[in-house]
C-alpha cells in the first residue's frame, strides 16, 4: 500500500494542465512513499503520461463514458482505487474533480481532503494540507486508510520524465444504462474560456471600475485588454457580482472561488476580509487602488496608488512593451 492513483483530467483529447499537475504531485508523493504513480484516464487516448511522471497508465474507455457522468466516473475511480490498493487517490480540484471525487470516495467508504495545497509523508503515511475558511487557516489532515484528495490547480508542479509506460486498457464494468446522471448537452458554453480557479494569472475588477453599463464601460474594456495581454482570466469582487456587473462564476473570495495563481492583479478592489482570504494564496499580488489606505495593499507585493482609469491602460501598454522585448 504505497502506490498513488491519479485521475488525470482530459479536455478536447489532451491532458489538462491541472491534470498534469496532479500527476506531478502524485509522482512526487509515490516516490516519498516508495511506490508507483498510476495514472488513470477515462474515455480518452492517454497520450504520453509516462513522460509526465506516471509509472503505469490505465485507460478506461467505451460507450459508458462517452459523456461525463459523476456517478460513472466515480465508479471507475473507486474500482481502481480498490484494485491497485493505492495509499492515496488524487484528482484536480477542478469543477469536474470537485463534482465526482466526493462520490468516488464515498463508494470507497472514505472521506475526502478537498482542494489541497500540499502533500507530504509523515510517519510513513500521506498527509495533506488544505485551506479552510477560504485560506483564513490551513488544516493538516490524514485518513485512517487510503487518503482521497483533490489538488488545487497551479499549486503543484508538473514533472517530466519517468517511464515509457504503455497505456493499459482496463474494462468498464457497467453500461450507459446503469448511469444515474449524464451530461446531456453543454448550454451557454464559452469554448476555451479559462476558469478563474485554474488560470495562472488572474486580473480582478472591483467596485472601483464602476458600472459597465454606464460610466465604467471603458474601465471594463481596459481590464479585458489587460487580461488579454497577459493571457489571464478575469476575476471579480463580490460587490461587482452582486451588482450584476459580472457573472458569479468569476467571483473570488470566501463566498466565491479561492484562487492561487502565480500572479493576481486586483484593480479597484479595496480588499474585504472575504476577498483577501480567497486570493492571499497567490504567489505574487499586485494592487491598483486610488485609496492608499485600502486593506488590499496589506497583502500586495506591489502596489500602485492611482485610479483604474489611469493605471490599467498604462499597465497594459507597459506590459506589451515588456512582453514584446
Amino acid at each position: 500500500m504505497s502506490d498513488v492513483l491519479v485521475f488525470v483530467e482530459f479536455s478536447d483529447g489532451a491532458a489538462t494542465k491541472a491534470g498534469l499537475q496532479a500527476l506531478g504531485a502524485g509522482s512526487t508523493l509515490a516516490k516519498a512513499l516508495g511506490g508507483k504513480a498510476i495514472a488513470l484516464v477515462i474515455g480518452n487516448n492517454a497520450g504520453e503520461l509516462g513522460k509526465h511522471g506516471a509509472d503505469r497508465v490505465l485507460v478506461a474507455g467505451g460507450d459508458a463514458v462517452g459523456s461525463y457522468s459523476p456517478d460513472g466516473f466515480a465508479r471507475i475511480v473507486a474500482e481502481h482505487a480498490k484494485s491497485t490498493g493505492a495509499a492515496a487517490v488524487l484528482a484536480s480540484a477542478t469543477p469536474m474533480g470537485k463534482d465526482f471525487f466526493a462520490r468516488a470516495a464515498a463508494i470507497a467508504k472514505c472521506g475526502l481532503a478537498a482542494d489541497c495545497v500540499e502533500l507530504k509523508v509523515e510517519g510513513g503515511k500521506p498527509r495533506a494540507v488544505r485551506p479552510v475558511f477560504a485560506g483564513k487557516a490551513l488544516a493538516t489532515v490524514e485518513a485512517p486508510g487510503t487518503l482521497w484528495a483533490t489538488l488545487r490547480p497551479n499549486v503543484f508542479a508538473e514533472v517530466s520524465g519517468g517511464s515509457d509506460a504503455a497505456p493499459e486498457t482496463v474494462p468498464v464494468t457497467f453500461g450507459p444504462g446503469d448511469l444515474k446522471a449524464v451530461v446531456k448537452e453543454i448550454v451557454a458554453g464559452v469554448k476555451g474560456k479559462l476558469d478563474v480557479a485554474e488560470a495562472e494569472i488572474v486580473v480582478s475588477g472591483g467596485r472601483g471600475l464602476k458600472d459597465p453599463a454606464g460610466e465604467g464601460k471603458q474601465n471594463w474594456a481596459n481590464l479585458e485588454a489587460l487580461a488579454e495581454t497577459l493571457g489571464a482570466a478575469i476575476g471579480a469582487s463580490r460587490a461587482v457580482v452582486d451588482a450584476g456587473w459580472r457573472g458569479h462564476g468569476e467571483q473570488v473570495g470566501q463566498t466565491g472561488k479561492t484562487v492561487s495563481p502565480k500572479l493576481y492583479i486586483a484593480c479597484g478592489i479595496s480588499g474585504a476580509i472575504q476577498h483577501l482570504a480567497g486570493m492571499s494564496g497567490s504567489k505574487v499580488i499586485v494592487a491598483i487602488n486610488k485609496d492608499d489606505n485600502a486593506p488590499i495593499f496589506k497583502v500586495a507585493d506591489y502596489g500602485i496608488v492611482g485610479t483604474v482609469e489611469d493605471v490599467v491602460p498604462a499597465l497594459t501598454a507597459a506590459l506589451k512593451e515588456t512582453l514584446g522585448s
Binding site: 488544516a139 489532515v141 451557454a188 476558469d195 498604462a314
Partner: protein, 249 residues
Amino acid sequence: MDIIVCIRRAPTTDARIKPAADGKNYDPAGVNYDISEYDKFAIEAGILLKEKHGGTVTILTLGPSAATKEMRTAIAMGCDAAHLLVSDANHDAWATAQALAEKIKTLPHDMVLFGWNSVDNQSSATGQMVAELLGLPSVSVAVALDVADGQATVDRLAAGGNRERYSVKLPAVVTCTKGLNKPRSANMKGIMAAKKTAVPETPANAPADGVSVVKLDPPPARPEGKIVGKGAEAAVVLAKLLREEAKVI
C-alpha cells in the same frame, strides 16, 4: 413534492479565524454564526419548488443545539418542518453525509438540496456523498433547476462558465450555488410561524471522520510589500519588476 434541504450553521464570512489552544479546531471566541452562504440558495430553491408543485420543505441539520436559530430562519423564509441531529463536534463531510443519509432514509424525499460548498470546511462533498449513500443521482453547483414528470432538469456550472445540462430521475440530490435564485428575506408572518414550529432534536449518530485534522495553522504571513509609485507612470516600473524581480511574466 417532499423536499429536504440540508443546511449548515457556520461562522459568518467576516469572522477572523484563529486556531484554538488544542491546535486542531478554531477558537470560537467572538465568532458569530449564520446559515452557510450557499445553503441559502438551496432553501430558496426548495421553497420555489414547493410553491410550483406543492408539498413540504423540511430542513435537516447536523450541528449543535444553537443551530435551531439558523433552522428557524429557514422556516421563517417558508420551510415547513425541521430536524436537528445534535452534535457539538466539527465533523468532516463523510461523517456528516452518513449521519444525514441515515435520517433522510426515514423521511419521504423527492428532492434533497444542499449548498454546493460550506464557507468553513469547504469540502464541497457532503451532497454528493449523501447521493452515493442513498443510491441517488447527484448534480452539483446548480444554476438552473426545474422539475416536471418525475424528472429534474439541472444546469450545472462547469469550468470557465460552461453550463452542463442534466436530466435526472427523482429522487435526486442537487447542490446549489449563487445565480440559481435570489434567496428571500423572512417576513413577519414567517418569523411568527417559525417561533411556533417545533424543531425536534435527536442526538446525532455520527460515525468517525473520513479525514481528521491533525493540526490547524494560521496561513503563512505574506512578506511586506512595496508601493511602486503613483499613477500611470508607475506602470512601467511595475512591468519591469514583474519580469525581472518577481519573474512571473
